[in-house]
Structures are given as C-alpha cells and as structure tokens.
C-alpha cells in the first residue's frame, strides 16, 4: 500500500469522446431475450459505443482534448506535459502521447509519455501527472485516458463482448499551490491472468495458433488475441480491495461519506459497483453511473462518468473520491477538490 499526497495541481476541466456507433445489448443475438434482460439488469449495461475500422484511442482522446482546450480557452502552446493512459495504444511504438503531442500542436519542449494501465489507470495517471507538476516545472498539463477495448473482445464470447465500450477522455490540470490530492495505490501481479490478452507481446508473439478459437465452459469462444476475463475472480478482488483502498484514503484525510460529494467508481458493472458502494455505506445519490449508456470503458470510465453524469450536478466547489480497480491486478483511489470544473458535452464522433 502506498498512501501519499501531491500538492500543486488542480483539475480545470474534463471532456470525453465516444464513437458514434452504438450497440444495443438487447439485440445481442447470442443471448436469449430473458438472458439479455438479466444481463442488462445485473450489469447495468444496455448500450456501448464501439470504434469503427481505423478509429483509435488516439483519435478519441485527440477529439476530447481539442474540445476541452477550446472550452477552457487554453492555448495549446501553453501546455507543457501530456500523459496518455491506455492499454490499446495506436501503435506498439511510438507512444500515443508523443503522436498526440504533434497532432495537438504542442511545442517540442513539452513532455509526452504513456502509462500502460487499464481500469486503475486514471488514478495512476493523476498520480504521475500531479507528482510531475508538483516540481513546478509544468504549468498546464493534459491527462488523456482512453481505450478501444472492443478491438480485443470476441463477439462469440458472451461473458466479455457485451461488457465493453470504447471512449477517450482528456483532463486539463494547472499548477496551483492551493490544491492537493490524496492517493492510495496498490498492485498484485499474482492476479495477472484474471484479465489478460495471451498473445501479441514478446512473451507470446502472434503465430499460427493465435487466432484458433477455443470453446470454453458455457459456450464461450475466444482466441489468444482476445481479452480473457475471469469474471468471478475479478469480482472477488474488486469487492475486497476497492472498499479497503477507499476507506484507507478516508482514514488518511479524516473524512467520511458525509464529507464527499461524489464517489466515482470505475464503471465495471452495476452489481460489482453496488456491492462496493453498499460496503462503504455511501448513499446511492453520491455514486453516479454511466454503465447504461457506455458500458465498461476501462481507463476512460472515471473521467467519462464525471463528464457525463456530473455535468449538470456539480456545486461551485466539489469534493470527489475516485477509485479504479482491475487489470494487473492494480487498484487505486484519489481524493480531491475541484472548483467550477469545466465539463463540456460528450462528443460522438
């Protein structure tokens, strides 16, 4: 457990972009009508936005970043730092952040780097970017978090295909000594196979066997370049570790659910997130969801939920608790305050 506070950066705004193509889980033909109903009721996921051919995480984050810069009236040349969080980058190399540094028109003296994390990635991205800003060397920065997870899901895998949607987000941060963010971060690589894509890296390069489909228990079909998900193991992990991390953070800051305006959970599925909420005794109105409209969008789910569900619901000053948990296994929580956060409308591109 790593628990600490960064000082010197505040969040000015958050934006999100999703593909215009929308899939309805009530039309997913591998489930019977009663299974479709049970799936939507249990997971909370009715619709998902899915990237079209050639549409990348970088494209979605670029659109979100451009929209946010315009809305904030920030000049791109004033942005010193861009960090991209994704596990579905545009290329194996170079880093997507560097491609976007050029595409956004950022100066060459700016710093750009990628972080390879998924569901916990937004919290980790906030940690790295605010720790770098604490040095005082960066006055304005962009944290981009997004994934095109659907590129790795098999339509014949009814345990993962209807869960995931695609999204890209941008979070604008500025140097401000008056703000601090508290973090609790954790990792457990012993759970590396609970959520993974077996082939395509150096350990198991793509070969003749990669795309051979296997039929597993329950009629689930996957190949080695698909996302493999152990649903019950991830469920147990999440409902055990996320509440502990959030409670650790509240203990550190001496706060309780009464002091927090919103608890934003990684949008995994409704059953899992509601179990976490109930364990923490957070009132339902403080824990918004976007699962119904967007599904599980991996690293994008926390900022997407803030941008979409809290857009017309925030006070002048808002106190947030954020918690991400999943692939790695990796999990982390952050507690922060924002003032007049700018949240543009979601882009559908």
């Amino acid at each position: 457990m790593a628990t600490f506070t960064t000082v010197g950066s505040s969040i000015a705004g958050i934006s999100a972009a999703v593909p215009a193509v929308r899939i309805d889980n009530m039309e997913y033909e591998l489930l019977t009508p009663s299974e479709q109903q049970l799936f939507v009721k249990t997971t909370g996921i009715r619709y998902r936005h899915v990237a079209g051919p050639g549409q990348t995480t970088g494209d979605l984050c670029y659109a979100a970043a451009n929209k946010l810069l315009n809305k904030l009236n920030w000049r791109v040349e004033d942005v010193d730092l861009v960090i991209m969080v994704s596990q579905s980058p545009d290329y194996f190399l170079p880093a997507t952040a560097i491609i976007l540094q050029d595409r956004l028109g950022m100066k060459k003296s700016s710093v750009a780097l990628d972080i390879n994390l998924g569901c916990s990635g937004y919290v980790y991205g906030l940690t790295v970017i605010t720790a770098m800003m604490q040095t005082g060397a960066f006055k304005k920065a962009l944290l981009l978090a997004g994934d095109v997870s659907t590129a790795a899901t098999n339509k014949k895998d009814k345990s993962t295909y209807p869960l995931f949607g695609d999204a890209g987000t941008a979070t604008a941060l500025e140097y401000n000594r008056d703000y601090k963010i508290a973090f609790d971060l954790n990792s457990d690589g012993s759970g590396q196979r609970a959520i993974y894509i077996p082939h395509g890296g150096i350990r198991h390069p793509i070969d003749a066997t990669t795309f051979e489909e296997q039929t597993l228990e329950g009629g689930i079909v996957r190949h080695q370049r698909n996302l493999w998900l152990d649903g019950s193991e991830v469920f147990n992990f999440s409902v055990r570790e996320a509440p502990t991390s959030i409670q650790t953070l509240m203990n550190l800051t001496g706060t309780s659910p009464d002091d927090i305006d919103y608890l934003i959970l990684h949008q995994a599925n409704k059953l899992m997130d509601e179990t976490i909420r109930k364990k923490l005794k957070f009132p339902a109105e403080k824990v918004p969801y976007t699962l119904h409209d967007f599904g599980n969008t991996s690293s994008a789910s926390i900022p997407l939920t803030i941008a979409h569900a809290c857009r017309n619901r925030q006070a002048l000053t808002t106190k947030w608790l954020l918690s991400g948990f999943g692939v790695g296994l990796s999990w982390g929580s952050a507690q922060l305050t924002t003032h007049q956060l700018v949240l543009p409308e979601i882009l559908y591109i």
Partner: protein, 77 residues
C-alpha cells in the same frame, strides 16, 4: 447466519428470474432452464453484501443446491 429458510427467501429475491416454486433448498439450480453464469456473480454479491462472507467461483463450483450454499456459509462465519 440466517436459517436455511430465511436464507432461501432472501436469495430468491436477488435471483428474481427464478419462479419461487421451482427453486427449493434441495433443487439442483444448475439444471434449471433459468440458470446462467450471471447468477454466480449475483450469489457472490449477495453473500458479500448480506453476510459479509466472501465466496469464490471455485467455491460455487462445489455447490449445486441452496442447502450446499447455506452449509458453505455456515463454515465461513
């Protein structure tokens, strides 16, 4: 821990896709047409929320009736 009857009553509320008359304490729920893998997660969530007891997918593979499940929870109290 609730009695088997109360436990069954509470769990049936969560598993609302099952007709009450079809799911008794000794019914093999895996053989019911309504059974789906989604119910595994519902049972895990129920045990965690209602009793604060963690059961795993592996635990549930060893259970096929509500009585099995209730007995498992009794050993985990």
């Amino acid at each position: 821990m609730d009695s088997l009857e109360i436990f069954t009553e509470k769990l049936l509320v969560e598993l609302d896709s099952f007709p009450v008359e079809s799911l008794k304490p000794d019914t093999n729920y895996r053989q019911l047409p309504e059974w789906s893998s989604m119910h595994v997660l519902i049972i895990i969530a129920f045990c965690e929320t209602e009793y604060g007891i963690t059961v795993t997918g592996e635990d549930l593979r060893g259970c096929s009736t509500l009585r099995d499940l209730h007995n498992l929870l009794l050993t985990r109290q």
